[in-house]
Symmetry: none
């Protein structure tokens, strides 16, 4: 698993629950932010950009469902994980909640053990980046067609070149260590020299014609338009 600290926002009006969940998540190495009502949740979500947002459905100011709807309308929160906490006999809101685009919901009363396993599972799933085309300004990367386009013009990349570019482009701006790249593109068992990466990077830069892969000396590479 990666050791990048995951940020979690919890919004609930019951201080006890807030406390329990915070304690549990912190124990697993998560960075936790809390909010006690809908408005505060929205505010903190925007300011801290969490990776996961846990929303109680019944909250003052705005309900969890409302908060979720508002967040989902914003591109920044399109892919943020959202979990609802629902009271047991609250079927109506459960259904409605899921329709608004939550990734999961957990019924109260909450078992910390179950809670943690659900949260961990969500993050695990997030890591498995799904196959979908990336659109970055004038650059399109389509894994389905195994094809790259710059300004509408098709460009053919070889397998490794494509995989490498796709990896970097999935997280624009993020620096990938050489080791990370080797693991993701080549796999842990294959052993190739460091220069191999360079050569592929070169070919990508050459074929695309645009300067979108940046070298971070002594560290690795990143995608940057």
């Amino acid at each position: 698993m990666d050791n990048i600290s995951r940020k979690v926002l919890i919004a609930d009006d019951e201080p006890d629950i807030l406390e329990i969940l915070k304690y549990n998540l912190a124990g697993q190495g998560y960075e936790v932010v809390t909010a006690k009502d809908g408005d505060e949740a929205l505010d903190k979500a925007k300011r801290t950009q969490p990776d996961l947002i846990i929303l109680d459905v019944m909250m003052p100011k705005k309900t969890g469902v409302e908060v979720c709807q508002i967040l989902r309308m914003q591109p920044a929160f399109k892919d943020t994980l959202i979990i609802f906490l629902t009271a047991v006999n609250d079927d109506g809101s459960q259904i409605k909640g899921l329709e608004t685009g939550a990734d999961d919901y957990i019924a109260k009363p909450i078992s910390p053990k179950v809670f943690l396993s659900r949260v961990n599972a969500l993050f695990r799933r997030l890591n498995k980046t799904e196959v979908k085309t990336l659109q970055l300004e004038n650059l399109t990367i389509d894994p389905e067609r195994f094809m790259v386009q710059v300004d509408e013009k098709d460009i053919i990349l070889a397998k490794k070149e494509f995989e490498l570019l796709y990896l970097l482009a999935q997280r624009p701006g993020r620096v990938f260590l050489r080791n990370e790249i080797l693991n993701q593109v080549w796999g842990n068992e294959v052993i190739v020299g460091d220069r191999t990466i360079d050569v592929h990077i070169r070919k990508i830069r050459q074929k695309l014609g645009i300067d979108c892969v940046t070298t971070v000396k002594g560290v690795g590479y990143k995608f940057q338009l």
Copy 2:
């Protein structure tokens, strides 16, 4: 979306999961039938003839894999969509599941959002699988007559050649992995060498006379005029 009611059978021994999935599917307009073990699943499958069957792998009486195998042996369920629900750390069964002839599998714990999108995607794919003639510029592919025309001129393809071409042509541009091709055209149980695909591709290219199948080295083939 089409307004034809799609019937879905869900089999799981956990009432919670049954409930969640049922609500979600019902919310999307699906007609839902449930079963709590393998035998009940078989029984209800036969009596209700669902369009999609969702099977928990771990169930009393009969496992999902067993149910799937039994169903697949019957002509009536040859083309029924089947999805497995698998426990998180159960990679072995996932692979085995797909080999038994499931169309997809979803790992527990289930994210409703992901779940629905997968189900919808399957049905979307099913629609496209409908037998209909494809018209691509000067090329016509008619599965009804089992006939291909290039510039008004009839061309006779053998069964496998035709199926292969038809598969590729259904999603022009999209790359089909060799494994995908093997599964779709030959079926999961048949084992043939990799070169077999090449030979059929060659015959297609040869007979059609036009360059419409592109090789993506190390990946697969795609239809491209």
